[in-house]
Assembly symmetry: C2
Homo-oligomer: 268 residues x 2
């Protein structure tokens, strides 16, 4: 599915991180579940021809409990309904022992019908097998995250290299037996992205943080593309979906998405 999107020149991934404090007044429904679904449908309708993927972060739904989970399932079902060829990444950053990851995989791949999930590397390959074993699903492992304090742990030196590079090496050289792994790197760390690309070859990379976190778009594209000038998902969330908080929010989201799409195209 990603290969088809890249062939169309689409690299933009829109993060559906529905912070309830930022939703436009005009969209509010009778319940938070209805409000979230209405908002997401409007954003998806306005941007669906510009994206290589959508990426809802489950935290923004969990904070609304059962209604949030229902809203997330409805959102993901809506994307499948309008275009089943757009992959949906569940940004969940899960990671537990194998017996428990079985349950997280059920949640992500069966209940929510995600095409991929983001996971923590800390418990090792053996713990992640329940995800890897879904051979038609993607497993995106955190390498270097976008937050200001990412270096504290991720740049500790192990075996002569920073931990995030060791993780990138493990994912690409030892964990990818089913060829369904990817890595995640923050756009706020372009040099580290370059290093990760050198390690993982043509493995897909999800890059987050080009929007509100001020990651460098040009360097993200330059350092993130694989040898075929593909293999990259560039995620922006807040800057697109909350481009306006007035009635024109969907149009504003489209305009911002188009702008980013054009900037990526130019950089590619």
């Amino acid at each position: 599915m990603l290969e088809a999107r890249w062939a169309e020149g689409k690299f933009l991934c829109i993060g559906l991180d529905v912070d309830a404090t930022k939703l436009p007044e005009s969209i509010r429904g009778s319940t938070i579940e209805r409000t979230i679904v209405a908002f997401n449908r409007a954003i998806i309708d306005a941007t669906k021809d510009l994206v290589c993927s959508y990426k809802p972060n489950i935290a923004f739904y969990e904070s609304h409990g059962d209604q949030g989970m229902a809203a997330l399932r409805e959102t993901m079902a809506y994307i499948i309904e309008i275009n089943p060829e757009i992959p949906v990444i569940l940004d969940a950053k899960r990671g537990d022992i194998g017996n428990t990851n079985v349950q997280y995989a059920l949640s992500a791949f069966e209940y929510l019908r995600a095409d991929a999930i983001t996971v923590h590397p800390y418990l090792g390959k053996e713990s992640l097998l329940p995800f890897f074993e879904y051979v038609d699903k993607g497993v995106i492992v955190l390498s270097h995250t976008s937050n200001p304090g990412a270096a504290e742990v991720q740049e500790l030196i192990v075996e002569g290299q920073p931990l995030y590079q060791k993780i990138a090496h493990l994912v690409s050289h030892e964990w990818n037996g089913n060829e369904n792994c990817c890595v995640m790197v923050g756009a706020t760390y372009p040099q580290q992205l370059k290093e990760v690309r050198a390690i993982v070859g043509d493995m897909p990379i999800l890059v987050a943080g080009v929007g509100a976190q001020n990651g460098d778009l040009e360097k993200t594209v330059k350092y993130g593309l694989d040898s075929r000038k593909k293999g990259l998902m560039v995620n922006a969330s807040r800057t697109i979906i909350f481009a306006s908080r007035e009635k024109d929010f969907a149009d504003a989201a489209r305009a911002r998405a188009q702008e980013l799409h054009d900037a990526i195209t130019k950089a590619v």
Copy 2:
């Protein structure tokens, strides 16, 4: 709350990991939500005087989507109702950037009303501030997990010590400004538990894996207790709650919990 439980000689933490494939036929209700709540209430009623804490792992609820989340909230509300002095640890192993962890904290501490949450260390202190800032809640950071493949990443050598020790050092010496941090160690790695205890002083340690994962109970107590012979939560999940899958499941769970409580008392 934990100090009061330890003063009563209680160290057992029961994991409410409601694997739907193992629930007794006799408890099945009209929906999975009703079934889970009925099961948990029976387990809690049968064991509430023996525990220092309960620890539901959210993965076993998420796999049932919105109904699972509602069942988890009802379960946690029930514990508060019968005895608000029993702390409830949400085993969620969360870890995202700060902006997103705000939402996870809302989910854990506001929607679910947990007293503590387990988290990943990979994104560093700065990312975890939204949890730490709930000064009356506990934040339990993974140090060395119980799974067979834990060493792959957690025992990589950084600055002359294995990563899990470096993490234990960061948590106890640099992240604990609000004095609400704990660490988590697997009972299947007693030597590593000993090392972590030496690093963290009298900080509480949550030890998982004495039950189905065959962790060594005697060594867990010997190496896990702090200098005051307190500071330890010993978790067992499957061996207690699924001790029987017949109508006597609650009695069987109590018997198994009593057995573990007695064995811990003897070892202490």
